[in-house]
């Protein structure tokens, strides 16, 4: 199991596209957007400096892409008939998922570290406790996205998953407030029901609060449970030739 997971990680790290889209792309966007606004200390009345706001926004965007790309890899493996091959081994469904989750988190951690470093270079400064709490919230907040990645990977084909992923992340990041704060109106009501909104809200720990309200925790838990069930259903039914 450990050997199996180790090779999964090796495989991922040898894939250059991962570094370009999951790490390079968000970093370039961060400097492009936050760089010119680095002296803005109350960005769009959010109470947060622009450098911090966008650091968390693009960390959310980057990690979302990173863990959703689990689905792209699954779709590729299915197209290669690999998931049928894995079913002929003693690897249990639980260990299969465990490996996918571990690899997804490891990759997400790389995205997080690189984005934090970029943030610090633009003057983001937080007490250690707030860094830790913020990171904790981001890691918890990725659970529904990992499940969504697995779900899409088992439902879609290699041809359809690219556009579907692109559309999903674009919509989720827009409504989640990655690009600008979604503070009021009907858009805010919709946004609050999305997991990406709360992922971005992780930056609010620096306002002295817990970052997520009870409502936020409830919405995240609901998404996580529903998507995890859907993902395991999709895996179980997915035994046919593709």
């Amino acid at each position: 199991m450990i050997t199996f997971a180790r090779y999964e990680i090796v495989r991922t790290f040898r894939n250059r596209r991962f570094f370009i889209f999951s790490v390079g792309f968000p970093v370039v966007l961060y400097f492009t957007i936050a760089g010119p606004n680095r002296n803005e200390h109350n960005f769009a009345n959010s109470g947060l400096p622009a450098a911090l706001y966008y650091m968390v926004g693009l960390t959310a965007f980057g990690t979302m892409n990173t863990v959703l790309s689990t689905g792209t890899r699954i779709a590729g493996e299915r197209a290669a008939g690999w998931n049928r091959q894995l079913r002929l081994t003693p690897l249990s469904t639980r260990d299969y998922f465990r490996t996918k989750v571990v690899v997804a988190y490891l990759m997400a951690c790389i995205t997080i570290i690189v984005l934090y470093a970029s943030g610090i270079s633009l003057g983001v400064s937080l007490p250690a406790g707030e860094w830790a709490r913020m990171t904790g919230l981001i890691l918890v907040g990725l659970v529904p996205f990992i499940a969504l990645g697995v779900l899409m990977g088992h439902l879609l084909t290699t041809d359809s998953i690219g556009p579907a992923m692109g559309g999903t992340t674009a919509l989720l990041s827009l409504l989640g407030g990655v690009w600008f704060p979604v503070n009021s109106g009907a858009l805010h009501d919709i946004a609050e029901a999305l997991p990406s909104y709360w992922l971005v809200q992780a930056s609010h720990v620096s306002l002295g609060g817990h970052g997520w309200t009870a409502k936020g925790w409830f919405i995240m838990a609901a998404w996580a449970v529903v998507l995890a069930f859907a993902a395991s259903w999709a895996y179980r039914r997915d035994t046919q030739r593709v």
């Binding site: 450990i2 199996f4 991922t12 290669a80 008939g81 002929l88 249990s92 035994t239």
Partner: protein
């Protein structure tokens, strides 16, 4: 760990298996009630033309497809149970390898999932893939990928090895090397089931052939017997004036057709038939003798017109 050897009495048993698929033109009956019993240590060919139901049968044997009715037992367990024990190795018909690993790394990765795998070097040796062992999987040719997939199927040291049309995409040389490796594995007392649509492959590599057509078993016996049944040849020649009844009476001929100026003789023994034909009709022209091919042989055997 299941260790079935030729001494074990345990068997693989498929009983009353049926499977249909929905299609726009109505249900397709891929498998229509088949029974197969296989003793441990046997090498069995599932022989049949495309669409005979071989892959569907194999998918049910492996538990990848639930049968509509009937049962599958592998070493006294369900397919899933036998797989959980690491008792089955399989090379499916469609499929390639995951990328970004060398063949050796991939084998090591897969070996780690099993309770009693072969050593990676032993597998590389057994499958004869030393030359490609350190190459990344995405850089392999079609035939090399097949050989590497065969190694993946062997790595668990399975008691039962299942191969679905394994030589597709292999060139002649790879085929030879592949079957040599397979026989080497069979010699360790393993049970092997492989699907093929080549009579020669079944004849050369299996003890027994199960002949399938249109989802049913047409014949099941030692490969020598099966070969005699389906190894039919056809003689085609221009012979405008001969009577069909007289031709049918020639030695070695089983049936006759007329196609315009030409006659077509279906022969159980084409050697005897051609001698008799030339003796009786010295003016016969444009003679062609061809192997009937499985499709035609099956039509002869089953009398089913498609």
């Amino acid at each position: 760990m299941v260790s079935a050897t030729a001494n074990d009495t345990t068997t693989i048993s498929l009983q009353g298996l049926t499977k249909s698929f929905a299609s726009p033109a109505g249900p397709v009956h891929a498998v229509r009630g088949i029974d197969i019993e296989i003793r441990a240590g046997e090498t069995v060919a599932l022989l049949g033309p495309n669409g005979a139901g071989k892959s569907t049968t194999i998918d049910m044997l492996l538990g990848l497809l639930p049968p509509d009715s009937g049962s599958v037992s592998v070493f006294g367990r369900s397919p899933t149970g036998a797989i959980a024990q690491g008792a089955i190795g399989a090379m499916l018909q469609t499929g390639s390898l995951i990328r970004d690993l060398s063949v050796r790394e991939l084998l090591d990765m897969m070996a780690s999932l099993y309770p009693g795998p072969l050593g990676v070097d032993e597998v590389i040796d057994l499958a004869g893939i030393g030359e490609i062992a350190d190459r990344r999987t995405q850089r392999l040719s079609g035939g090399e990928t097949q050989r590497a997939r065969f190694a993946v199927a062997l790595v668990s040291n399975p008691a039962l090895l299942v191969l679905d049309e394994p030589t597709v995409a292999m060139d002649v040389e790879s085929r030879h090397a592949f079957w040599d490796s397979m026989r080497g594995f069979a010699a360790r007392g393993k049970t092997i089931i492989f699907a093929t649509h080549y009579l020669e492959e079944a004849d050369a590599n299996a003890d027994r052939a199960v002949l399938m057509a249109h989802g049913s078993i047409v014949a099941d016996g030692p490969t020598t017997e099966i070969k005699a049944m389906v190894g039919l040849r056809t003689i085609r020649a221009t012979l405008p004036d001969a009577e069909l009844a007289a031709l049918e009476a020639l030695a070695g001929v089983t049936s006759v057709e007329r196609r315009g100026q030409a006659i077509v003789l279906h022969c159980a023994d084409s050697d005897a038939a051609i001698r008799a034909l030339l003796a009786a009709y010295p003016d016969v022209r444009d003679i062609e003798i061809t192997g009937a091919g499985l499709e035609q042989a099956f039509l002869q055997l089953t009398g089913v017109e498609t």
